[in-house]
C-alpha cells in the first residue's frame, strides 16, 4: 500500500516526456495547418473587421472618438462622415490600428448643444462603423467642479444611504433574538436581490465589452473566483477564531465588502451614464437611490446586532460599503470602461452570494439554538428583504 502511494507521487523523466507528447503533436498540427491550410479554403470574400467605439469626447468645435480594433487583423481608418458631411480628421497614434490596440480619432466640427449626431467611420476596406451621439454637450473634463459633481453623486447613492442604515443600530439592538434572526433573514433577502441585480447589470455591460475580451466569461471568473476566495478566507477565520462574536463581525465586514463592490459598479454605471448625458440625475432619482440603498446599511449591521462593535468599526464598515460608489462615479465619469465595470460587478456579485451563504450559516446556528422551529420567520424575512428593494426600486427604474 505504501509502495503504491510513493509510486503515484513519483514524477519521472518518463512522465515528463509523456506530458510533452501531446504538446509537441499540437505544435506539429498547427505547423501543418499553417503551411497547407488544412485543405480548407479560408480566403474570405470581404475582410472581417471590427471596431469598438469605447467613448466619444465633445470639446468646443471638435469631437474625439476613442476606438479599439477588436477584429482579427490590422485596420486602417480612412474616412469620417458626420451628419452627412465628410470631415478632415487625424488619428493618434496613427490611422493603422493593430489588433486590440486603441486609437483616438480627432476632427473639428461645429456641433450644437443638445442636438443629435450620427457619425460613420469608414475603414480602408469600406467597412462602416456607426457612432451615435444622442445628445451633444461638452464632455466633462477632469476639473475641480466635475470632480466634486461625481463625488456628490457617489455620496448620494452610496455613502449617505449606507450610513443612514447603520443609524438603526441602537434601535435594533433592543430587539429580541427571534426578531434579530428575522432581521438576518431580511438581510439575506436584500442581498439575494442585490446579487441578482448586480449580475444583471454585469450582463448588461458585458454586451458593451469588445468581443475579444469575452464579457460573459469575465463575469464567470469574477463571480466564482470571488465567491470561492471569500469562502476560503471565512473558513480560515473560523478555524482561527471560532468565537461567535468575531464571526458576526467578520460576516458584517464581508457584507460591507460585497455591498461596496456593488456600489462601485453602481457608481461606475451612473458616472458613465451621466458623463454621456444618458441620464439626468433628477432630484427624484437621487431620493430613490437614497431610500433604496438605506437598506444596504441595515444589511451590514444585522450580523453584529448582538455584539458591541466600536463606533470606529461601524464607521469603517459604512465607508467600505458606501465609499466605493464615489470611486466608481469618478472612474465611470472620466474613463468609462465596460471591461472594468463588468469585472467589478462580477466581483460584487460573487462577494454578495458568498455573504448570503455566510448569513445562511449564522441563521442555521440561531435556529438550531432556538430548537429549529421558526420556518415562517426565515421565509417572511427573506421575502421582506427582497420586496423592500423591489418596492423602493420602483422609484429609480
Amino acid at each position: 500500500m505504501t509502495e503504491n502511494s510513493t509510486n503515484k507521487t513519483r514524477f519521472t523523466f518518463q512522465s515528463l516526456i509523456l506530458l510533452l507528447v501531446p504538446i509537441i503533436l499540437l505544435a506539429g498540427v498547427i505547423a501543418l495547418f499553417l503551411s497547407t491550410g488544412g485543405g480548407l479554403s479560408l480566403e474570405s470574400a470581404a475582410p472581417v473587421e471590427s471596431l469598438d467605439v469605447e467613448r466619444y469626447v465633445l470639446k468646443q468645435n471638435s469631437i474625439e472618438l476613442h476606438v479599439r480594433n477588436t477584429g482579427p487583423q490590422e485596420i486602417t481608418i480612412a474616412n469620417i462622415i458626420i451628419n452627412a458631411a465628410v470631415m478632415p480628421f487625424h488619428v493618434e497614434p496613427g490611422a493603422n490600428i493593430q489588433r486590440l490596440r486603441r486609437a483616438v480619432i480627432h476632427f473639428d466640427y461645429p456641433w450644437s448643444y443638445g442636438e443629435a449626431y450620427a457619425i460613420t467611420i469608414f475603414t480602408s476596406n469600406a467597412v462602416a462603423f456607426n457612432v451615435e451621439i444622442p445628445v451633444a454637450f461638452e464632455t466633462p473634463q477632469p476639473s475641480s467642479n466635475t470632480f466634486w459633481g461625481f463625488t456628490l453623486i457617489g455620496l448620494y447613492v452610496g455613502v449617505i444611504p449606507v450610513f443612514l442604515g447603520i443609524f438603526w443600530f441602537p434601535a435594533l439592538r433592543q430587539l429580541g433574538r427571534r426578531a434579530m434572526t428575522f432581521l438576518m433573514a431580511v438581510t439575506a433577502g436584500l442581498l439575494v436581490f442585490l446579487g441578482l441585480d448586480t449580475l444583471a447589470e454585469a450582463l448588461d455591460f458585458a454586451i458593451k465589452v469588445p468581443s475579444a475580451f469575452q464579457g460573459i466569461g469575465l463575469i464567470g471568473i469574477g463571480t466564482v473566483g470571488t465567491f470561492l476566495l471569500l469562502d476560503a478566507i471565512s473558513n480560515q477565520q473560523t478555524r482561527i477564531m471560532g468565537n461567535e462574536t468575531d464571526r458576526g463581525l467578520a460576516v458584517a465586514f464581508m457584507i460591507a465588502i460585497g455591498i461596496g463592490f456593488h456600489n462601485l459598479g453602481e457608481g461606475l454605471a451612473i458616472g458613465a451614464a451621466y458623463s454621456v448625458g444618458e441620464i439626468a440625475l433628477g432630484t427624484f432619482l437621487v431620493v430613490g437611490f437614497i431610500i433604496q440603498n438605506i437598506t444596504e446599511g441595515l444589511g451590514i449591521i444585522a450580523p453584529v446586532l448582538r455584539d458591541r462593535p466600536s463606533i470606529g468599526r461601524l464607521a469603517i464598515m459604512g465607508l467600505i460599503g458606501g465609499g466605493p460608489a464615489i470611486i466608481g462615479a469618478w472612474i465611470g465619469g472620466y474613463t468609462p470602461s465596460p471591461f472594468l465595470a463588468v469585472l467589478f460587478l462580477a466581483i460584487g456579485a460573487g462577494a454578495i452570494f458568498e455573504v448570503i451563504y455566510e448569513i445562511a450559516k449564522l441563521i442555521q446556528k440561531d435556529t438550531a439554538r432556538e430548537g429549529g422551529a421558526m420556518p415562517m420567520t426565515i421565509f417572511s424575512g427573506v421575502l421582506t428583504g427582497m420586496l423592500m428593494l423591489w418596492v423602493t426600486g420602483l422609484l429609480i427604474k
Binding site: 461645429p110 456641433w111 455620496l155 461601524l314
Partner: protein
C-alpha cells in the same frame, strides 16, 4: 468590545448630518452649474472647419484625373463613308478595377475603358456611329445609349445579342447620331442600379450640324455617387467621380471667358441631383436639344439620367463655389470651386 453609548451615537450622527447638510448645500451649487453650461459657448465657424478629405487619391493608379476628364472629348476614329457621311468608330471595353475614390478607400468599380465616368463620346448630328464593345469584366454588360436607334442597338436584355454581352464577348453597336443634344450611355444589365452605380456610365454629346455658338471653354461634368458599403445608399457624391476634387483643385478660368458645361446626372439611389453656381447666373439648355436657352438661373434640378447644357462667364475675379444645392450631397463630396483670374 466597547459598547456604543448614546453620546457616541449622537457624535457620529451629528457628523453624518453635517456631512449631509454640506452635501445638500453643494448640490444646490451644482444644480446651477449645468444651467450655466446650457448656454453654449459661441462656436466660431472659421475657415478652419470645412468638410473635405485629407490627402489626395492616387490618380495614376486610378488611371484618370477628374481635371483632365473635364475637357477630354473622344471624337472617335473619323472616316468618310462612300455616300459622303462621316463615320465615327469607338472602342469601349469594360474592366473591373479598384478605384481609389477618397484617400484610403478603394471601390471595386466596373468601368468603361478603366475610368469613371467612361469616355465622353462626341459626334455630330447625322454621323454614323459605330462602337465596338468588348466585355473584359466577369459579369455580362452592355452599352445602352440614350438617343434614337433600332431596338437591336438598344443594349437591353431581350433585344438580341447586343442586349446581354457575356464576359469575354463583344458586340458592335451602330446607329445614326440623332437627335442633337447632350445624352448619356450606361450599362443596362440587371440589377440595373448596381451596374450603373458601380461605374458603368458616360456622357454622349451629339453636336448640331450647324454647331453651337463658339465659347472659350467647354467642360463635361458627370454627377454621380458611390455606395461603398453596398446598402443601396450613397456614401459619397461627386462630379467626375472623385469627391471634393474641384474643391481641392479649383477649375481655372479667366474673367470674361465664355464657358459651356455639359452636365449629366447619373446618380443612383437618390431621386434628384442639382447644380448651383455661386455669384453668377447661367443659361440653361435642358437635354441640349434646343439652341434657345430655356432658363436664366443659378440653380437647376436634374432627376436620374436628366442632363443639360449650361453657359456662363464671370465678370469678377475670385473664388466661386459650385455644388449640388441638395446640400447634403455637397458636404459628402459634390462640391467644387472655380478660380477666376484676370
Amino acid at each position: 468590545m466597547k459598547s456604543i453609548s448614546r453620546r457616541d451615537f449622537l457624535k457620529v450622527g451629528g457628523l453624518a448630518l453635517f456631512g449631509t447638510a454640506g452635501a445638500v448645500a453643494l448640490n444646490q451649487k451644482n444644480d446651477q452649474q449645468p444651467q450655466t453650461s446650457r448656454i453654449s459657448p459661441p462656436m466660431q465657424h472659421g475657415d478652419g472647419i470645412v468638410p473635405g478629405t485629407v490627402g489626395e487619391v492616387d490618380h495614376e493608379a486610378n488611371g484618370f484625373n477628374p481635371t483632365d476628364i473635364l475637357t477630354d472629348f473622344d471624337y472617335g476614329e473619323v472616316s468618310t463613308l462612300p455616300d459622303g457621311r462621316i463615320l465615327r468608330e469607338y472602342k469601349i471595353i469594360t474592366i473591373n478595377k479598384e478605384i481609389e475614390i477618397v484617400p484610403g478607400i478603394k471601390f471595386p468599380a466596373w468601368t468603361y475603358n478603366g475610368r469613371i465616368p467612361g469616355p465622353t463620346l462626341r459626334c455630330t448630328e447625322g454621323d454614323l456611329v459605330r462602337i465596338t464593345f468588348q466585355n473584359g469584366s466577369d459579369h455580362p454588360h452592355t452599352l445602352h445609349f440614350h438617343g434614337i436607334h433600332t431596338g437591336a442597338m438598344d443594349g437591353v436584355p431581350g433585344t438580341g445579342p447586343g442586349g446581354n454581352v457575356q464576359p469575354g464577348g463583344s458586340f458592335t453597336y451602330e446607329f445614326d447620331a440623332e437627335p442633337f443634344g447632350l445624352h448619356l450611355y450606361h450599362c443596362h444589365v440587371f440589377p440595373l442600379a448596381r451596374h450603373i452605380a458601380k461605374g458603368l456610365y458616360g456622357a454622349f454629346i451629339i453636336d448640331p450640324k450647324e454647331g453651337r455658338s463658339s465659347v472659350d471653354r467647354e467642360m463635361v461634368m458627370v454627377m454621380s455617387g458611390f455606395d461603398i458599403d453596398f446598402d443601396d445608399a450613397n456614401d459619397f457624391y461627386a462630379v467626375n467621380a472623385i469627391p471634393f476634387h474641384y474643391q481641392n483643385h479649383p477649375i481655372q478660368i479667366k474673367v470674361g471667358e465664355t464657358v459651356r458645361v455639359y452636365l449629366v446626372n447619373i446618380l443612383e439611389f437618390d431621386f434628384v441631383n442639382s447644380f448651383h453656381l455661386h455669384a453668377n447666373f447661367f443659361h440653361y439648355y435642358p437635354t441640349g436639344t434646343s439652341l434657345t436657352s430655356a432658363e436664366f438661373t443659378d440653380t437647376i434640378i436634374q432627376g436620374q439620367a436628366q442632363r443639360g447644357i449650361l453657359e456662363f462667364s464671370y465678370q469678377y475675379p475670385g473664388m466661386y463655389m459650385f455644388h449640388a444645392h441638395v446640400t447634403e450631397f455637397a458636404e459628402l463630396g459634390w462640391n467644387g470651386m472655380i478660380e477666376v483670374t484676370e
